[in-house]
Subunit: 138 residues, 2 copies
DNA sequence: CGGCATCCTATACGATACTG
DNA sequence: CAGTATCGTATAGGATGCCG
């Protein structure tokens, strides 16, 4: 998945990095993780605020995904020893770098909604009757 | 999920765009779709080539995900009416734009492998004994 | 309030097998 | 070779409830 970073490593080390990269990618490249990262952004949000801000996420998935992101050093978790408890979430430095990319993904989605909607209609139409995109003989 | 694009729309239209954006995001923001997009990149690959290039993907998931990406107008599918059949996959213009972002995501992952690996070790250690990150009283 | 555990359903996914 | 269908398992994910 995008080499170049592993240049000049011993085979064993490359393999370990490869495996870790795959793991990390799995942690991050999923709907909830990406939405959470994008939502926190530059701000600091409490658990409940996040739960409300991330459209459609459940209490459970938020807690679960936050734990993974915290472990991976993408989000910071600050616990106030008050009662009732207060927990603030923010992005780490690494998380902030990541977030610029994630945000670009969200913006791309928004900007292509119409285009994609039309592509879908064309596709669904094509499915109805045969004759798809076929390379022409020359 | 990242507003601003829906400014100056009627409420009903905003809601439709909102729903579509969520759908599209679900299609794209998952491991396989992102890996496929990043792998195709600027090139044109046959089904079998893609299957080999995308680390760990199964025949089934590749076919399934490609269908979704094709429908969304992210990948182009060119069928050669030969026997045995040959099918070439490449990114559409929209897909190419998207791919720059996706690639940035992959690169970020690679570049932060060590950093994240260390963050994980610290996290796992913290879990063993209590005393987590707690806000100090002032 | 934040978080974990539990239960249950829905979906993701792999393996396999069959077609054109 | 590319694709679809089927089946079984595994994981995602919602709902609920209990604790500090």
């Amino acid at each position: 998945m995008t080499k170049q970073v592993t240049d000049g490593m011993e085979p064993a080390e490359v393999k370990r990095t490869e495996a870790l990269a795959a793991e990390i990618f799995t942690d991050i490249a999923n709907k909830w993780a990406l939405l959470i990262i994008n939502t926190i952004g530059e701000s600091t949000l409490r658990f409940t605020e996040l739960c409300a801000a991330v459209e459609g996420i459940s209490h459970k998935m938020l807690a679960q995904t936050l734990r993974i992101l915290e472990r991976d050093g993408v989000v910071d978790r600050l616990v106030y020893p008050t009662v009732p408890p207060r927990v603030d979430y923010s992005l780490t430095d690494a998380g902030l770098v990541l977030r610029t990319t994630v945000n670009a993904l969200c913006i791309w989605t928004r900007q292509h909604v119409d285009h994609i909607d039309q592509a879908r209609q064309r596709f669904d139409e094509r499915q109805a009757r045969p004759s798809s995109t076929v390379a022409q003989e020359t």
